[in-house]
Symmetry: C2
Subunit: 234 residues, 2 copies
């Protein structure tokens, strides 16, 4: 791999991890507003909520992402999460204080690793990810100290970094409440009706209204004082 | 994901990244000799040298790996390497002093991330990878400082680490010459005729004898004073 040095200088480029959910759609809006040429990445990892992949395409188009990629990966060969293992039920009994069963082992590490690879190829110095340490405090890989450690590692991992092109992991949502995220996204033109947060949305993209992700989303709109445009199944 | 604490204590488990090449076969032999229950992982990432995937299966069987997984990933959607991009030729003009075109962006970071996910699921505290800082000095993600930074990040990334189950990235070959690797492997019963190192082995698994990987391998057997059992096409 020989990324030409010039590819890093032409224009300000970013890789944006885009799940198709509320948070990552807001992140794409923020990166776009900051003037980045955005290259979006989604992951088809055998998740239950596959309609979010369609949502990601709609959102990438809305914000004129330069490129959009869907990475295929058989995470179900690893297992261990209710989001990829069909034998484990998604809990609907309210938010838990410990790491939820919907935690996918090392997911953000895997996703950021792919983003790092793409950053080197397209010549991007910024990787945007919609992690949040407020609502998702139960996830170890959403914490600022984890993100900082990934960035340190990333800057030893690539030929681009050795040549002085340091990469930055951008986490614009990390300290925001869900209500603040929604308010920022609405101000930047995000149409949240296009996003899918539900862990078990049905094939038409209708949200269950009961999983952790739906509960957080409902609460966010309520606290933001905004109508929730989410299409719920019930 | 809730790995039970007991799963970390039953038996000494390791994830071993197994490409099917000379180095990783030796690593599996070393981990097995050290008494680990080994869970091997290969990656089908659109590489030219696909016969190495068959070699990995043969080697995993020989050393009685507890489980073997092939992770599917469309790295060619990212591109940028002669190993995954069919429009870039594999160089055969001798070893280069800079990062070779066969470097795959962030490859070890992606592979180790998957290994980290599997380690958490099976309850392994050790991840073995056959990186080498001597022969592959051109690859940034084969250096000890990179491996150390990955380990630091990994121990912030998972629920298992938060519960005190620290993971260790084991690199038993990192300071060995190719000849020393071969000598160690032969002593541990590795049948190198079963391994495939060539970057462009043909469909019968015959090596080209001319790419960087073949040149290093030939030189290693010569310096070890051992016959090279590799089936070369020419």
């Amino acid at each position: 791999m020989k990324p030409s040095t010039s590819s890093f200088n032409e224009v300000k480029k970013a890789i944006v991890l885009l799940s198709g959910g509320l948070d990552s759609a807001t992140v794409l809006a923020i990166a776009t507003a900051q003037g980045y040429e955005c290259h979006t990445m989604s992951f088809d990892y055998g998740q239950r909520h596959r309609s979010e992949l369609d949502a990601a395409v709609r959102i990438a188009e809305q914000f004129h992402a330069k490129t959009h990629r869907v990475m295929q990966m058989n995470m179900n060969a690893i297992g261990g999460s209710a989001l990829t293992d069909m034998d484990i039920a998604v809990p609907t009994g309210g938010l838990s204080e410990t790491v939820p069963i919907t935690y996918v082992p090392a997911r953000n590490t895997v996703f950021l690793s792919y983003a790092l690879a793409l950053a080197e190829v397209v010549g991007a110095l910024d990787i945007f990810i919609g992690v949040n340490a407020v609502d998702y405090s139960g996830y170890p890989d959403c914490r600022p100290e984890y993100i900082a450690a990934f960035e340190t590692m990333a800057n030893l991992a690539t030929q681009a970094a050795l040549e002085g092109h340091k990469v930055k992991i951008q986490t614009p949502l990390i300290h925001l409440s869900k209500a603040e995220i929604i308010q920022q996204g609405v101000a930047l033109g995000v149409d949240y009706a296009k996003t899918v947060s539900c862990y078990q949305a049905n094939s038409e993209g209708l949200a269950c209204g009961q999983c952790d992700s739906c509960l957080l989303r409902k609460q966010g709109f309520r606290e933001a004082g905004l109508d929730d445009p989410t299409p719920y199944a019930i």
